[in-house]
């Protein structure tokens, strides 16, 4: 009797634990599920496609009023007003529609965060410790995150997914928003190194509160210590690279012990790949660029709220900016209300290279076109606004010859729409990611279909 009751209680306990853990995994499991979401949803449909009778906004040269874009073997194989459609191609009549290059959002942590608040198991964006050059976003990107399809059906085909946190956060990965596996998604797994130089009395909000709490001297000393730690690691990587080269050139030298932390840094300290610095204030931007010059890195400024104040400094050094603040509130009470809306137009006028990003971890990356649109409402030419979310981000990431515009030979990332893709009212009608045609469904369209006719 007693045993029986005990057993029942134990069973109830086990059931409760099982229930709790099943609840806890809901976000991970509930991401997407439906018969519609079969192989084409996961990986698209490969093939040869001809999009005909379309207006083509190439983002490279002039628009083509009535043209054809041919997709074969994943690439754009032909584009123009008079193009022969290859035999066996799936023909898509796009009369009245416009073809755009797929948009690229460089400010995300796509696939690393599903639900930021209250569901920490779904957040993989920030590793412990300050110096993590060897962690890569792609190793933790969830290809089945619901954010991915939600983002791509709004015309964003490609994103940079970046880790955050610490001083050297890790490496960001450039990915297509399509694929059932990392391999299918990956464009460049080690696309950029992300460094957070310690910021001076940083940025308001919590950072400012924290700074007030620390003694000012302590804070300065800590900033210096942290910068020195980054510097030392980059120098070690540089030395490590030289040692590897020397050992390869001279077999008499002792073998270099492999170092998994320093090895991934070598291409960055040699200036072969971009290093992204989070910097907004004028002083932070100058400090980041000078630090990069000292360490011979290839800097990209991420944020750049005050980049327009140091425009000639950035232009002279050809340092690009990933602008994430178009829709941020002005940071000072007496700033003009549109200071952030018009920041890209000032950068453009000054000849600074820039891209516009949503700056969102993933769920709202689909808003990227509206950030660019707001910049255009406040002075940025419309064609530049489009390039700031297509060609320019591709160029900043060093893949401008591979994607970002509609040109022969480029990866076929194409959006067919019934209007301007920067407009919120425009409907996307067809979508190609990495040369594959993708159905226009997402977790949101599925929920819509499920409930739209409930009486």
């Amino acid at each position: 009797m007693t045993t029986n009751r005990f057993a029942r209680r134990a069973l109830a306990f086990v059931a409760a634990v099982a229930f709790i853990s099943s609840v806890a995994t809901v976000p991970a499991r509930a991401q997407q599920a439906s018969a519609n979401m079969g192989p084409a949803f996961q990986s698209g449909t490969p093939g040869t496609f001809a999009i005909r009778n379309a207006r083509v906004v190439t983002a490279a040269g002039p628009d083509i009023e009535n043209g054809t874009v041919v997709v074969s073997n994943g690439r754009i194989s032909a584009v123009g007003a008079s193009v022969t459609v290859p035999n066996g191609a799936t023909v898509i009549d796009a009369r009245g529609l416009t073809v755009f290059p797929g948009m690229i959002d460089l400010g995300t942590s796509m696939g690393l965060v599903e639900i930021p608040q209250g569901a920490t198991p779904t957040v993989d964006v920030s590793e412990l410790g300050d110096l993590n050059p060897n962690v890569r976003a792609i190793d933790a990107v969830n290809p089945h995150s619901a954010h991915i399809a939600v983002t791509r059906v709004n015309g964003i085909t490609t994103v940079l997914s970046a880790p955050t946190g610490g001083l050297i956060s890790g490496q960001a990965s450039l990915i297509h928003l399509l694929g059932a596996t990392h391999r299918e998604m990956t464009i460049q797994p080690s696309a950029a190194l992300v460094i957070n130089l310690p910021r001076a009395a940083g940025g308001g909000g919590f950072a400012a509160l924290l700074a007030q709490q620390q003694g000012q001297q302590d804070a300065t000393a800590q900033r210096e210590r942290q910068t020195e730690a980054i510097r030392r690691m980059l120098r070690d990587a540089e030395a490590y690279g030289r040692a590897l080269d020397a050992a390869a050139a001279d077999p008499r030298l002792p073998r270099v012990e492999p170092d998994v932390v320093l090895a991934p840094l070598v291409p960055y300290v040699r200036g072969q790949r971009p290093v992204i610095f989070r910097a907004d204030r004028e002083g932070e931007i100058r400090a980041a660029v000078r630090f990069a010059e000292e360490m011979k890195l290839r800097p990209v400024i991420f944020g750049g709220a005050e980049a327009w104040r140091v425009a000639s400094f950035l232009k002279d050094r050809n340092v690009p900016v990933i602008v994430d603040h178009v829709l941020n509130l002005p940071s000072r009470e007496d700033d003009p209300y549109d200071i952030n809306y018009e920041s890209p137009s000032k950068l453009h006028a000054a000849g600074v290279r820039f891209a516009i990003t949503s700056g969102d971890s993933g769920a709202n990356s689909r808003d990227t076109p509206y950030h660019a649109g707001m910049a255009a409402a406040y002075g940025l030419p419309k064609a530049e606004a489009l390039r700031s979310v297509t060609l320019y981000p591709a160029q900043i990431m060093g893949v401008g010859d591979q994607m970002g515009s509609i040109e022969v030979g480029k990866v076929a990332n194409l959006v067919v729409a019934d209007g301007d893709i920067l407009e919120a009212r425009t409907n996307i009608r067809d979508l190609f990611v990495n040369g594959r045609r993708v159905p226009l469904i997402s977790r949101h369209t599925e929920q819509y279909e499920m409930f739209r006719n409930r009486k």
Partner: protein
Amino acid sequence: MRRLPAIILSLATLLPALAGAESAAQQRRGGRQRGGQQQQPAGQPAAGEPAEPQRGGASSGETLIRNATILTASHGTLTNSDILIRGGKIAQVGQNLRAGSNARVIDATGKYVTPGIIDAHSHAASDAINEGTLSVTSMVRIEDVMNPTDINVYRALAGGVTVLNILHGSANTIGGQNAVVKTKYGRPIRQWFFGAPPGIKFALGENVTRKTPFALPGQPLPPQRYPRTRMGQEEVLRDAFTRARSYKRGWDDFNARRANQPPRRDLQLEPLVEVLDGRRLVHAHGYRADELLMLLNLADEFGFKVKTLQHVLEGYKIAPEIARHGAGGSLFADNWAYKIEAYDSIPYAAAIMTRAGVNTSINSDSSERVRRLNIDAAKMMKYGGLSEQEALRLITLNPAWQLGIDQRTGSIDVGKDADIAIWNGHPFSVYSRAEMTFIDGEVFFDRERDLAMRQERQRERAELERAEPNQAPGPAGQQGPGQQQRRRPPGDDGDDQKDNDDHDHPHGHSDDKGGRRQ
């Protein structure tokens, strides 16, 4: 196919008119009863008090907006048309209108005019959001903590916004009393009020249970507080309304001379009695379908109406039930996935609810997002295929109904308050800007004037930054306190930024985005 919903919708536009008439009557009865006496609606001077002098005095003058494309929100789009504003009201709408010789004439050729935008969920201009220490704080009022110099209100004006519903936060089941105001930035706060019916914030779900603990740096976590579950929330509501009903009965008995003594005054229960009497509008924060239904069922049982479900992210799953209760729904356009409760939020929700006959609005809950509600409304044409006018109503006439002010504002109709925005292009285009915003016929935002003032402001700023720190008036040679407190150097923004968004802002965890959770 489309005919039937269109008819239903046109009927739906009549309903607000009836509801609005009722709320006007409520106003006459006088909503607020502090100190046992009826008060004037806020914004109007009480007897014996001098009226605030009108700055500029423009509200009595005439303004003629000529040759615009007018999106009326009530009766379609008028091209090449004029609006005559007189005495703060829309006096005439039509073609070839004439104004007096002293009228200000604005040539709006090529421009667009909409009703001023109404945000049914805001926390701007408020120095406090959450009195979260108790589960029932119906006695506290946002009105008492308003800050008329919040720059975010000016920024909202620059996005064509003329009315805000400033709500208590979502920390407790029954929160405080809201403030429905016009965005009269720079005026004394009393002038912002315009006699909107009073309301109150309720909250359901996760925020109330405090299961996601949150504290400012250096501050302790808030203590635990009943309720911790949605079960407890139902019980808190039931207990409060049971007490309110008894309290009301006590007054009824006294007034009918069935009792010799009135009940002891209870400032907590008085607003809830007003809810029971239909004199105070309930704006209830909730996400999940089940918690929303719990409230509607409880309201039905106690015989009161929920005026709006706020956020109502899963409202699309129970749209027919919401329509049957008669509640409105005030949603984000497309925010989702910032917490588990928001994982089922879809951008098609407004369309589904509109089609089901629910009065639906798009709100911001954010001092950032309020600046571009026109684009949020535009998205709703894509997600579910709302018409242009249906989409415009989501940020004008529908929130006006939800706040009980649709007789006053929310559309371009003769007799309504001249709350108007002029845009340099179609308001639903991302390439368009608000150029002028009128409230009661007065200009509260004018982009040209703003641009013209900038140089002067920059000069002034530079001068101040060069200036010696102010000497305190004291004995000669003694340092004033200003000497120690040097101005911040340029490039150091400190924490000027003030953003009172509450829990629900998706960027709430990121200080760079300007959201601070309350």
